[in-house]
């Protein structure tokens, strides 16, 4: 170390005490703690302690999904030609929308209002994204379960034929949501305009997301294209799992895995870049 002006410690400059390296396990414990703290904080900030508090996390998407299911029934959006009732299509379709839409849009502009939190050195940009995504995943998953139980209890849908396929699709959706959430969070921090563009783009994407159609209904020229839309695999798997052999589905789980892997890698890199950019302000 040349040119260090340091009269205090010249004798100790050959400092070689073992640098306390934080082990991976310990880092994970710290990160879990921080994410939990951020989640609780988010719940209290968003819903407060009054009335049903935390329960809004899943009651809100439940109201949405039940409302949309009712609307679809009024308009008879499908005549049931697909081997699935309108209600079943809405449940297996709109539930997935609630998850990816809520979780990813919550990541938009998640950093700026929370800059002060980064003063706690264990709180990192990635934790801000993860806490929000996990909260929405909890809410979306509970809501989907409860709506399903309510509809089954009312006799409007039957129990899924192959629940494992549904659950598999749901987990792929969760993975997809993490990846997109990180990317949206990082890019919206970088460019003011990103968030403004993301909302309309998300709205258009809703139309092709698979929520409103099954690939089987499409002309064969469009089927190939539809299979490339990542969330279409999710809705196809949800419907395959629900109706079993009664429907013909076109899911591409292998393709979606590769897609999610790429999203995850880009998301992690972008989040790290955001962290460094903020730290070097």
């Amino acid at each position: 170390m040349p040119e260090c002006v340091n009269t205090v410690n010249e004798k100790t400059l050959s400092w070689s005490a073992p640098r306390r390296q934080t082990s991976l396990a310990r880092s994970l414990v710290i990160q879990a703690r921080v994410i939990y703290a951020l989640m609780m904080r988010e719940v209290i900030t968003r819903y407060g302690r009054d009335n049903i508090g935390f329960m809004w996390v899943f009651v809100e998407p439940m109201i949405f999904t039940l409302g949309v299911t009712a609307l679809w029934n009024v308009y008879e959006i499908s005549k049931g030609e697909s081997g699935m009732s309108v209600t079943a299509l809405a449940w297996t379709g709109y539930s997935t929308v609630m998850l990816w839409r809520n979780a990813t849009s919550r990541c938009a502009k998640a950093v700026e209002p929370n800059l002060g939190l980064l003063y706690h050195k264990n709180v990192r940009v990635l934790d801000l994204f993860f806490s929000r995504v996990i909260l929405e995943i909890l809410g979306g998953t509970l809501s989907t379960l409860f709506v399903g139980l309510i509809l089954m209890g009312a006799g409007l849908i039957v129990p899924p034929k192959e629940p494992v396929i549904m659950i598999g699709g749901w987990f792929l959706l969760i993975w997809y949501t993490f990846g997109v959430g990180m990317i949206v969070g990082a890019l919206s921090e970088r460019w003011e305009a990103f968030e403004r563009l993301y909302h309309p783009v998300m709205y258009f994407y809703l139309g092709i997301s698979g929520c409103f159609f099954m690939v089987d209904w499409l002309p064969s020229s469009l089927q190939r294209l539809a299979e490339l839309v990542p969330t279409v695999t999710v809705t196809e798997m949800m419907r395959h799992g629900y109706a079993g052999d009664a429907v013909h589905t076109y899911e591409q789980p292998g393709y979606l895995c590769v897609f999610c892997l790429l999203l995850t890698i880009s998301g992690l890199l972008l989040a790290r870049q955001t962290q460094e950019r903020i730290g070097r302000h």
Binding site: V5, V8, N9, T12, Y119, H120, K121, G279
Partner: protein
């Protein structure tokens, strides 16, 4: 032991890059009280933020061999819409401290009474400072970073800070940033002077103060 190893910091302004800190090296041993002197804009707060880990250096590194607080009395880490107690809960969760154990101290020290259950945005600046200080003390750190504590609060508050920091926690390391020479002389074992981005360290506080007075006159 905290080791600051060749830390430089460059801020990019409209008039080009400005080197705020230039190859800073220092070490803080357990229990050591280091005063950092410097005029406004000398980079004192930047150095403290870098040592705390809240900000990254442009080059060089900081090695933490003990736990370091966030800059004391720093109130930016609060969520205004949350109550003082919710902020305490958050800090306890992040640092793995016991909320129930910390509560009596925070209530007693902050003297905020029923306001602890009110949103922080309703607090006056003095109240925020009291809460911020109480929270940072409630989490037990090996090294406290104290950035201009004397500029907030009244003399009663200073008295309590003094008891908690320099009497009850006199075995802890501290890095005290101030432009108040008297405060540094009273509390520190050694002093550093930030001047044009360089850090000049003095084993003897009075020598450091003399250097600071000579350079800032």
């Amino acid at each position: 032991m905290i080791k600051v190893d060749g830390v430089s910091k460059i801020y990019y302004t409209r008039k080009g890059p400005r080197r705020v800190l230039d190859n800073i090296c220092m070490e803080i041993r357990r229990g050591q009280k280091v005063g950092i002197l410097g005029l406004n804009g000398a980079g004192k707060s930047t150095l403290v933020r870098i040592i705390s880990g809240a900000e990254l250096p442009s080059s060089g590194a900081v090695h933490h061999g003990m736990s370091v607080s966030w800059p004391l009395a720093f109130s930016g880490a609060f969520q205004g819409s949350l109550s003082g107690l919710d902020n305490l809960r958050f800090v306890c969760r992040v640092y793995n401290a016991d909320y129930e154990k910390s509560l009596p101290f925070v209530e007693e020290f902050s003297e905020l009474g029923p306001y602890l259950r009110e949103p922080v945005k309703k607090y006056s600046s003095g109240m925020v400072a009291r809460l911020a200080f109480a929270l940072s003390i409630a989490v037990d750190f090996d090294c406290f970073l104290i950035d201009e504590i004397v500029s907030v609060g009244d003399s009663r508050f200073h008295g309590k800070c003094h008891t908690e920091l320099f009497e009850k926690r006199k075995d802890r390391a501290m890095i005290i940033v101030s432009h108040n020479s008297g405060y540094i002389r009273e509390h520190c074992d050694c002093a550093g002077v930030l001047l044009a981005g360089r850090l000049y360290m003095f084993d003897n506080v009075d020598a450091g103060l003399a250097f600071y007075d000579a350079k800032s006159a």
